[in-house]
Structure formats: C-alpha cells, structure tokens
C-alpha cells in the first residue's frame, strides 16, 4: 500500500493515536459525567457581568459586592458569569437560567437589554433583573411592544445625572476656592449612559457657580482671572472621550493636559482609567511634594477614595450593590413579581427614591462610612491572596481621607448638601441627557 513509506508512518501513527485518545477520552468523560448527581436544591442567584468582568473597581465589582452581601444575609449562593464580549451575553443568560437552582438572574449593564428580554421570554418561570437596562422601552418581535414590561423582568436604573451634578458642584466650588480655572472629566466610550454623567456633571458645576455668585457676590466679583468663575461657561469643564474602558495610557494622556491646564479635579467616568488619572496625580504630588490635593480626582460607581487617600476628594457612588441586594431580598420574599407589575417593570434608584413606601436610594456622594465598607473589601482581598492591596492600614486611610475633607472649607460641603436636598425635594431638576439631540442642546450651553 502506498502509504506505508516512512513519512507516512509517522503521520498515520499520530492520526491513529489521536483517534484512540479521543474515543477513550469521550468514553471516560461520558462515564464520569453521566453519574447521576443528587444535590439538595439550593437558592442561587446568577450575576452575568458586563464586558470587562471583575476588577474594574467600579461597576461590575459593585454588582458582585451586592451579590456577596446577599449571600451573607439571605443565605443564598451566588454564581458568576463573566462576559468577555457582547456575544457572550445571551449564552451566559441561558446557561444561568438553565440551572434549576438559580432563582434570580442579574444582567449587569445596559448592553444586556435585548438579550435579557429574549432570555426572560424563554424562561418565564425564572426571575430576571437588569442593571441600567431599558427592557421596558424596546420592542421585541413576538415577545413584547415598546412600553410593555415582561412579568418576570425588572430594569433597575440609576440617576447618575443627579450624582454627577453633586460632584460637578463639588468640583466647581473647589475651583473657586483654589482659584483654578477648570474642572475635568475623563470619559470612556461615548455612549448614552455616559452622556447622563457628562451633562449632569457640567450642569452641577454651573449650578454651583451661580450659587456662589448669588451667595457671595462680593467674593465672586473679586475672584482672580484664573478662577473658574471668570472662565467662559463653555470652557469650564475640560473633557474627552477616550474610546476605551481599559487602556490606562489613554487615561494618563487624557488627564495630563487637564491638570496642566490647572483643573482642580478630574472626574473619572471610565472605570479602570481612574488609575491612569491617579498616576498623573501621583506624579504631580511627587513633583510638588504634596501630601494631599489639590489636584484631586473624583471616583465613580464604587467608593474609590481609598485608592489614593488624600487625593480623591469624593466618589460618585452608584449603589449597584444595593440594587442586587434588594432584588435578591424581593425574590426571596416573593414580592418580586408584584413589584414588577406595580412599577411597570422599571425601578429607579437615585436620590430620594422610594420603593413600596420605603426610602430606597441608589446614588450618593461617598461618605466616611462608605469608606470603611470598601476598605473592608480590600482587607478581605488581602487576606484571601496574601498580597497587599491597600496603600496602608485602614486607620491610616480613614485618617488621611478625613483630614483631606476637613481641610476644605465647610461652606463647600454645605453647598453640596444643599444641592442634594433640593434634588431630593424636587426643587431643582437635573437634566437627563440620553439622546443625541439633548446632548447637543446642553453641549451648546454648557460646553
């Protein structure tokens, strides 16, 4: 036969060996896996992450934090599914829903909207929740119309624009105090969610400066030319969309000009890019021998004050963890479906928001109390891996942060609190910009 020459032997051998190995492997695996397993039915919640997965120090991490707290308090087990790309969403959701023990499936991120609808429709006896999703407002062929809510699917959205207004006000007032002409914002990919942050931030800054001019008219008139009060409105906020949520070199090169142009604080709306911003701040601090800011940066989603204590003036916290936590509770208490029906499939967590008559908020500026919560997370991570995570002891971190906050004049904090009160009572309305037209409109006014 022709294929018995020496070259052929090697190839034939390899192929035959490979076939035998494959058959053996498949057989062995079949035997192992097909053993019937009897497991006690458990209550599981599945968290399907957005792209980027864990370790973004903000969005996804908050969701998992909420899941872990639910585990602890409600005696459930959390399983995680990491989405590497958008193509993973639906498969991940299906995998989670196919598990008979899973009672609640959480989709983290607005990009999961469409796939959540599909999955919720396919698994009507499972409960689904989406964070930042807008499943109510889309139409899905054969499933639902616009404005219609599926009985087992809830959107939880947050009022990021209100929180951003608070930190915008904080930044602008700091700029008046330190006589700096700008505040800054480093954004990720230009998507409507980030537009809410952007316009809220700028609006808050504008509100604060008007507040300052009204309450301290003599001071504001006497401000030097470098103060933000004298900067033309459209130039007050320096910002850019870096187009990435992971390339921190872009975070660095975006924040550097902002600080060089004397921005007093830069808002991080790009998750891990905060580390790029932080690098610039660290380099400036080392160059100028600073123990604390200015220059500052502002954290987002989670409490990021501990990352560089003394230089992160505050964080705009989006309590995604609370969203996951509450929803788990509602599922466990069997009130989930009722709430979906009652609230038309969408619950908003923000400032002054309520669910079933109870104050259930989801947006706030970080406080010292929040700080200790997050520092504990870092401590746990250190214990888990044996590697240092925090920059110093929890006490040292607390001290630095409170020293920094006390060093700022109290009227700044009071003004921010005043804004928060007015937002909560409805006295002021922070613009919600999530369409191209609204954004263009506000950019025309605020820059």
């Amino acid at each position: 036969m022709k294929f018995l020459n020496s070259k052929g032997i090697a190839s034939t051998t390899v192929i035959i060996v490979a076939i035998i190995v494959i058959i053996a492997a498949v057989a062995g695996v079949y035997i192992v896996v097909m053993k019937p397993t009897t497991a006690a039915p458990a209550f599981k919640i599945a968290v399907v992450s957005d792209i980027g997965g864990r370790g973004d120090l903000s969005f996804n991490d908050m969701a998992f934090k909420g899941g872990e707290e639910a585990e602890r308090d409600f005696n459930v087990q959390m399983v995680e599914l990491i989405s590497q790309t958008e193509s993973d969403y639906l498969p991940n959701l299906r995998t989670a829903a196919s598990d008979p023990d899973v009672q609640l499936i959480v989709g983290v991120g607005f990009l999961l909207t469409q796939d959540l609808v599909t999955a919720a429709h396919e698994f009507p006896d499972k409960n689904f929740m989406g964070i930042d999703t807008y499943t109510k407002w889309i139409a899905a062929e054969g499933i639902k119309e616009v404005g219609e809510a599926l009985p087992n699917l809830m959107d939880i959205v947050y009022e990021e624009h209100k929180g951003s207004a608070l930190v915008g006000a904080l930044g602008a007032l700091l700029a008046t105090h330190y006589n700096k002409p700008h505040i800054g914002g480093v954004f990720g990919i230009e998507i409507p969610t980030l537009w809410k942050f952007e316009i809220g931030y700028k609006w808050g800054a504008d509100w604060a400066i008007s507040w300052y001019e009204n309450n301290y008219p003599d001071n504001s008139a006497a401000e030097p030319a470098t103060s933000i009060v004298k900067t033309p409105i459209k130039e007050r906020v320096l910002y850019t969309y870096t187009g990435t949520f992971s390339d921190i070199t872009k975070g660095y090169t975006a924040a550097l000009p902002m600080y060089e142009e004397n921005a007093v604080a830069v808002y991080n709306i790009a998750g891990p890019l905060g580390l790029g911003i932080n690098s610039v701040v660290r380099d400036i601090a080392r160059r100028d021998g600073l123990e604390q800011g200015p220059p500052f940066w502002i954290g987002v989603d989670a409490n990021q004050d501990w990352i560089n204590p003394g230089f992160v003036i505050a964080s705009m916290m989006k309590r995604v963890d609370r969203g996951v936590y509450y929803t788990t509770k509602w599922v466990k208490d069997n009130t989930f479906r009722y709430l979906v029906e009652n609230y038309g499939g969408q619950i908003t967590l923000g400032i002054g928001t309520e669910v079933s008559g109870t104050l259930t908020e989801g947006i706030s500026i970080s406080t010292l109390a929040d700080l200790s919560e997050f520092v504990q997370m870092g401590v746990k991570a250190e214990e888990l891996t044996g590697e240092p995570v925090l920059l110093g002891s929890p006490e040292w971190i607390s001290t630095k942060v409170s020293t920094m906050r006390d060093a700022q004049p109290s009227w700044i904090w009071n003004a921010v609190a005043e804004l928060e009160g007015k937002i909560r009572s409805g006295e002021v309305l922070v613009p919600l910009a999530d369409t191209a037209d609204t954004v263009a409109y506000w950019r025309n006014i605020l820059g």
Binding site: T253, A254, L275
Partner: protein
Amino acid sequence: MILEGITFALAIFALGLSLMALLDTSGTKTPKVPAWLHGEKIRGRIIGIVAIVAFVLYLMWAHDLLRVELFEYTARALTENWTSLILAASLLATPLTLAAVGECLSERAGLFNIGLEGIFFLSVVIGVRGAENQVVGLGAGAGAGAVIGALVALAVAEKLGRFAKLVAAFVGGLAGGLIGYFIMSIVIAGLGGGAAGLLVGALTGALIGFIFSVMAVYLRANQLVLGMGINIFATGMLAFLLMTIWGFPGIHSVRPVLHIPKLLGYLTPVFFVAVIVAIVAHIILHKTLFGLRIRAAGEKPEAVDVAGVRIDRMRVLVCTAGAALAGLGGAFFSLGWFGEIVKEMAVGMGFIALAVVVVAGLEPLLALVVAFVFGFVRVLADWVATSAGISSILPGAFYLMHMVPFIVTLLVVTIFIGRRPFPKALGKPYIRE
C-alpha cells in the same frame, strides 16, 4: 493661526530631514539629492502618499471635520505647553525605544520578531511579580544565569566528547546560577525591588526571545506565524495570570515602594536608560566587528558563514538580547509608569514599536528619535482633544485625534521607506548548502 500651524509643520519637517542627514551612516558622501528621492521609487512613493491623503480626506469628511479650527487648537496646544508635552512624550518613548532598538538589532541579524506585543504583555505581569516577590526575582536570576552558564559552557566545550559536554553544562549551569543569584540580590539590595522587577521583565523577554529564535533558527519555523502565536498566547496569559496570581481579575496595584520614581513630575530615569541603550546599540552595530557580523548575517549570511562565524548562535544571541530589551520596556509600564497592571494595558504598543523600527530603517538612534516623535504626536493629539471648548465645535474631534498617530505613521512609512530596505536575509532561515 493657520500660518502658525503651517510654519510649525514645516519646521518640524525640516528638523526631521536634517536629523536624518545627521544620522546618515551609510558611509558615502551625501549626494545632492537625498537618496530616497531618487528615480523610480519616487513614483510609487507619490502614489502611496496620494492614496493616504485621499483616505485622510475621507476620514475627515466622515467625521465632519473639514474645519480649520483643528489646526488652531493644535498650534495653541503646541506653543503653550511644549515642556509638558516633551516630558510626557518621553514616557511613551521609553518602552517604544527599548523594544524598537532591540528589534532593530534582531532584524539586522535576520530574525523578524513581531511578538513584541506579547513580550510587553507578559513582562508587564511577570516583572511586577518579580518585584513583589523576592523568591521569584531571585529564582529568575538564578534560572537565567544557569541557562546562560550552561550554554556558554557548551559552546566552550564544543569540540569535546559527549560526557565532557555534560559535565561542562552542569558546571556552567551551577556557576551561572550562582552568579545570577548573586547579581539579582545585589540589584534588590542596592536598587530596590522595582529595579529587580525591571530586570525580571527583561529576563522574561529574553526567555520568549530565546524560544522564538531557537524555533526560528533550528526548527526553521515561520517567524511571522511564531510572532503572532506569541502575541495571542500572551493576550490570554495576561488575564489568566492576573486572576490566578492575585485572585483579583483585571487590575492589580503595585506597592508604591516598588515604583521607579519619576523626576520633574513626568520624566523617568528609565528614559535615560533607553537613550543609553540606543547609543550603545548604534556603536555596536556600526563601530564594532561584532556589529559588522550582525549586519552581514542579515544581508548575506553565506559570506559570514564562510568566514567561520556561527550564524545560528549569533542570531539566537542577538534576538534574545533584543527581546530582553522589549521585556524591559514592558515591565516599565507597570513598574515605572503606572504602578498598576490593568487587563488591556499597553495594548497596541508592541505593534507601534514595530512601526517605529520600520520607519527608523532599523537604525537604533533613529528609532529613539522616531519613538519620541511618535510619543509626542500621541500626547499632542490627546491634548488637543481635551482643549477647552473643542467638542462644541468639533464633535468628532476625539475620534480623529486618536487616529492621528496612526495616520502619521502611515505617511512617514510611505515617504521614508526604502531608504534602508530590510536586510536581504530577513525572515529566511539560513540553511547551509
């Protein structure tokens, strides 16, 4: 404002030209017309430039950016902030220069290693590990020393019998290991964990380069495919290592005590290391016998082979050393610049380094200049993108600004290519007839 911009552009262009003339080491007298403007190549060059310009016009039209204000903003950013721009550019230039110089040497010898991206990714992580964990650092030093020692001993004992070779390898390995251990502990004690981390990063690069060159030279593997394999492998390994070593996926912060401190805010001492490396590489390449042999190995390996030089050993050595430089650059990202590892950090930098190599015509000193210019363009582009008020006038500005460095690279590559074409034997395994 426009005039400012145009003047500036012309100034930079003239500066570049004169730099190139300065660094002309081809040995011949500079002809009246620069060599690259000669003859039939110019037609092709012009077609290429026209194609790029048409392409850029399409981009600007699509981005609604056929506006003059863009140049105003650029000129303003340039004139008011050039010190900060230069300092920041040096940060980007450091890893690019290191990797590019290394690759210049490697390509001169005939090995085309496009796995720079992969080397960056791996040394970012392993360098930090080496800095944090003394055991890893010392182990890496000892291991590398052992391998080098064994190889050197084997080379020395070449003519001896098999048993003698075994003994030589053993002794050489032992001695090398001890020496490596010793050197590493001195570095840790004297220069600190950060420097040790850089060294471990360099060793990581060397290991990858070693594997690459051995496979390319002795197994005649396709070098381009090997390089892509390294890149893909490293992409997966980075995230995998982040999770399995530190249990925290996506991000890891390095203790400040391990960072390489910066001067003047944004300037890093590693930049000076890169400059020295470039100068040394230039000297080796052009002023030493070894350098002559390297260049010959890339151009006409048969000639060098006849003269008794071991082509295979030289290629492996040069490629390994070049990859070590790239590894140094990679570790710099996490230890010298940021103090963090993020999952997709420095993505694309390895490929930019390749572009730098090509634009520089495989000249180390020129690679330094090109890397710096590239860093400068990128920092300038980002600066312009954050200018006050720009986005209300030019909504597509961010996107186009991010593209500028790549468009500039395309242009420069097209205009200046062929001044020093690739060595003739690049990428081809040398087979003795």
